[in-house]
Each structure stands twice: as C-alpha cells, then as structure tokens.
C-alpha cells in the first residue's frame, strides 16, 4: 500500500515581484495530509507571498508547488483552486455577495455543481463553522468573528485538500479567538495557518515553520520552536509576557 501524496509540497520556490523586489529565495515545505502547521515570521517575511503561490495567484519564478500530487500550472488552476482554500485576512475582502448563503455558494457554483449539491454543501459548510443560523443574513450585519468563520465556510464548501489561513486570529476578541480555534481544530482537513500570534500557534498547531527573509529558517514541533528563545529573537518573534510554551 502506498501512502497518499503530501497535501502540500513546495520545492525551492523563488519569486520576485514585478518591481524587482525579491520576496522568496528558495522555500521548501512539505505538509502531510491531516497535519496542522503554523507558518510564523515577522512582517515582510514573505508569508502572504508564499500563500498566493499555493493556489496559483502568483506564478513561481523558480521551483514548484504541488498540491496532493497535482503541480500548480496554468492548465490545472481550476482544480488547484478547488483543492487549496485560502482564507484572507480581511473577511470583507472575501465576503462580497449579498447574503452569507450566496457567498458560500459562490465557489461551488463556479465548479458548475448542480443546485441541490450546492445547497447541501452550503448547509454543511455553515454547520461546520456553527453559522447555519446566519445563512440569509447580509455579511456586513455580522460581527467580525462571525464574518471570519463564514469566510472559512466559503472555502470549506469547495471541499478542499488544504485550508490556508492568513492571520486568522487578528482583530478577534478572546471569545472570538476561542470559537474560531474550536471550529478549526474540529475540521477534518490539512491546515496551514499564517500567524504572528504564537500562543495561538501553540494551541492549535503541533508543528511550526518560521519563514524569514524569504527562506524557511526553522521547522519542527511547536513547543521546541517556541522554547528556543535565541531563534525567536533572531527573527523578531516574541512570546507574550508570562507565556510558557512548554505548558
């Protein structure tokens, strides 16, 4: 019996923006199916740039991204975007349809699924994030935390191989953080979470990767990574006062 291919395989990925600014200098990253991984790094490290490569929004200058065995290429883009669900930082960017249900249905409809299947996926995705009651409400009437959970539902409805979240805990109050963490840890998918929020990484992700200056500088079990004070300091990462990663 052969093992399933890794959910995500990034090999020697390099990229420069059109203005000449080089953001990634050869990134290697392998994430197995069902893993939950935190991607840490200071401002400007290249985290968002990496995320935009995972679903082919940006095209690699060098190297390759493979999602569950399928390489990211122009021809495979529709399937890649189904397999990789990206949840962006500002839910107002993600939620643009007049109602929550319409918005969650947007992706499945783009896949050309029949209406009954679309409806079933919308219901299932909203239930997974505990937002089924809000189906007919306009997104801008929801609280920020609710909007973020709906944004997660919009990618779950695509039944992705891997869900990628850019700064999921930003702007959330403690209750909103906890609710989101509960929802995310219950999801039966591979998860890559970009964050500055080290306690959140410790709480949710067994494994952490540090990206800085466009390369991966550390990759290991989260407690090990977070208890290496020298490593954190070298990459402008700080634990909140009084927080102990070993716990």
């Amino acid at each position: 019996m052969t093992a399933p291919p890794p959910s995500l395989l990034v090999e020697d990925l390099a990229f420069a923006y059109p203005d000449g600014h080089q953001a990634l200098f050869g990134v290697d990253l392998r994430i197995e199916r069902g893993e939950r991984v935190a991607l840490l790094g200071p401002n400007g490290a290249g985290k968002t740039t990496l995320v935009l490569h995972l679903n082919g929004i940006l095209r690699a200058g060098r190297g390759e991204v493979t999602v569950a065995g399928l390489p990211v290429a122009k021809r495979s883009l529709p399937e890649i975007r189904r397999r990789v669900g990206v949840v962006f930082q500002d839910p107002d960017d993600q939620l643009f349809m007049p109602t929550v249900a319409d918005d969650v249905a947007f992706g499945p409809r783009n896949l050309g699924l029949p209406e009954e299947e679309v409806a079933a996926r919308v219901t299932a995705a909203l239930e997974q994030v505990r937002m089924a009651d809000a189906a007919d409400r306009p997104p801008h009437h929801l609280s920020f935390g609710q909007r973020r959970r709906v944004a997660v539902a919009t990618v779950l409805a695509m039944q992705p191989e891997i869900v990628v979240l850019d700064e999921p805990s930003s702007n959330l109050d403690p209750a909103g953080r906890r609710e989101l963490a509960e929802v995310l840890t219950e999801l039966p998918v591979t998860l890559l979470m970009v964050t500055h929020d080290l306690p959140y990484a410790a709480q949710m992700c067994p494994r952490s990767v540090i990206l800085d200056g466009g390369v991966v500088v550390a990759d290991g079990p989260t407690p090990d990574v977070l208890s290496d004070a020298g490593l954190l300091a070298a990459h402008r990462l700080e634990l909140p006062y009084g927080f102990s990663p070993a716990g």
Binding site: R81, F88, Q94, H140
Partner: protein, 260 residues
C-alpha cells in the same frame, strides 16, 4: 451616510408581506418602467394633461396603499427630486412666448406648462420607483435585472455597489472621526484641502480593496461569470397583478386622448 453599519442602501427596503412584496422582482421592474413610459408619453401642453396627472397619481397612491408603503416613506423617496424642482421652477422665467401673471409675476405660459409637466412626471415616476425600492430587497432587484437580461457586467457592478456601500461608508466615517479627533473642524480653504486628501485616500483604499476582493474571488474559481441560483417562472396571475399599475395609467392616457 449616518445610517450606521449596514444602513445606507438596505435601509430603504421595508420588509412586509403585501401582494406587492410577494411579486417577482422582474415583474415589478417591468411594471414601474411601463408606468414611467406612459407618464412620460403624456403630452404636456394638452389641456387634459393635469387631469391625466391626477389619474396617474390616484393609480400610484392606490398601489402604495396596497403595498403598505407609508406616506412618510413616499415623501422621503421624493427627496431625490429636489434638483428637478429647482430646474422646473426656473423654466417659466426663462422660457419665451406669451406671458401670464402668476402671483403678480409675469411668466411664460409654455414655460409654466413645461415646468409643471416636468415636475409632475418626475414626481409620479419617483413615487412608483419608491414603491419598488420599499417593497423589494436590493438583491432581489438584482435578480430581477438579471432576469431581464441586463448585461452581467452591469449586474455585478450594481451588486458590488450594494455590498460595499457600507464598507466604504464606514471607512469614510472612521477617517472623519480620526480627523476630528485631532482637532479638525472643516471650513475654509484648508478644509477643502483636507477633504481632497480624504477623497484621494478613500479612492486608493477602495481601489486596493477592489484588488484584494478580486484575488479572493479568483481563489474560489471566479472566471468572470457570477453564477446565481435557480429562478422560478412567474405565474400568469402575477403578471396581471404587476401590470395593473401601468395598465391603469395607460387607460387614463387613452381616455385623455380620446375625450380631451
């Protein structure tokens, strides 16, 4: 703005269960458009024109009563008309031709008819449109427009306007609060300069948001088409209800032409 979060556009819709509320949105659109066409087709200089306007008014007020749209709501709808009023009031003074005395002022007879006609037609059409917007959710209106084969691009632009009016309005509001918190009061030349900077920065922010929204849409497989859900066919009875307003107006117009 001032309507608070989630206010601006959606506040115009008043939920209800009247016969008008339950009509399919595209039927209502056709009905309002046909009514406006009949109103506009009325010759302003015909001697029976004022009687016809009265007839239309009766028809549209009846529709408002059936729809349960309050007079106050109708009056608020008419606020958009204010610029027309200014123009219509000017017409009798600037138009040429035989003069008549009104309240001691000498004004042009044709100008008076034209100004009065313009005002009456605008008022009637806006009343009908107000009933439409008070009884139809914005997104239902969009579906109606789509049913009527309005090009996809226009439907999408309108949809984004509805969705982001509040987001952009909120951004503007926060910028104003931030300005005033630092002691800005507006007015004068300096005020204008600050306003220009605000408008510029709002434009850049909105533009950048547009780019981010587009990225997020691409990430979910957007290809340029916006797929909407299935729509049901309208029953013949619904057409009859929807068309009763323009048909009543057409009957008034016909009576005027034949009898007047």
């Amino acid at each position: 703005m001032g309507a608070g979060p989630g206010g601006t556009l959606l506040a115009r819709y008043v939920p209800g269960t009247s016969a008008v509320h339950r009509l399919e949105p595209h039927l209502k659109l056709v009905s309002v458009l046909a009514f406006a066409l009949v109103v506009v087709a009325t010759p302003v200089h015909a001697p029976w024109a004022p009687a016809a306007y009265a007839g239309y008014l009766l028809a549209v007020l009846t529709a408002a009563a059936v729809a349960g749209v309050s007079p106050a709501r109708l009056a608020r709808g008419l606020v958009v008309e204010v610029p027309f009023v200014a123009f219509a009031v000017l017409l009798p003074f600037v138009a040429a031709g035989p003069q008549v005395e009104v309240l001691g002022l000498s004004v042009s007879r044709t100008g008076l008819a034209a100004g009065g006609g313009l005002l009456a037609k605008a008022t009637l059409s806006i009343l009908a449109a107000t009933i439409l917007s008070a009884t139809t959710e914005p997104r239902a209106l969009l579906r109606g427009l789509e049913r009527l084969r309005l090009p996809q691009v226009l439907v999408q632009i309108l949809m984004f306007m509805i969705r982001y009016a509040d987001v952009v309005g909120g951004e503007l509001h926060r910028m104003r609060v931030a300005r005033e918190s630092r002691g800005f009061h507006g007015g004068g030349l300096r005020g204008l300069r600050v306003m220009a900077a605000t408008a510029g920065s709002l434009f850049v922010r909105s533009y950048e948001r547009g780019e981010r929204v587009h990225l997020a849409m691409l990430s979910r497989g957007y290809t340029g088409r916006l797929p909407t859900g299935a729509v049901s066919a309208a029953a013949p009875g619904a057409w009859a209800v929807a068309l009763s307003l323009p048909l009543a107006a057409a009957a008034v117009l016909l009576a005027g032409m034949l009898l007047g």
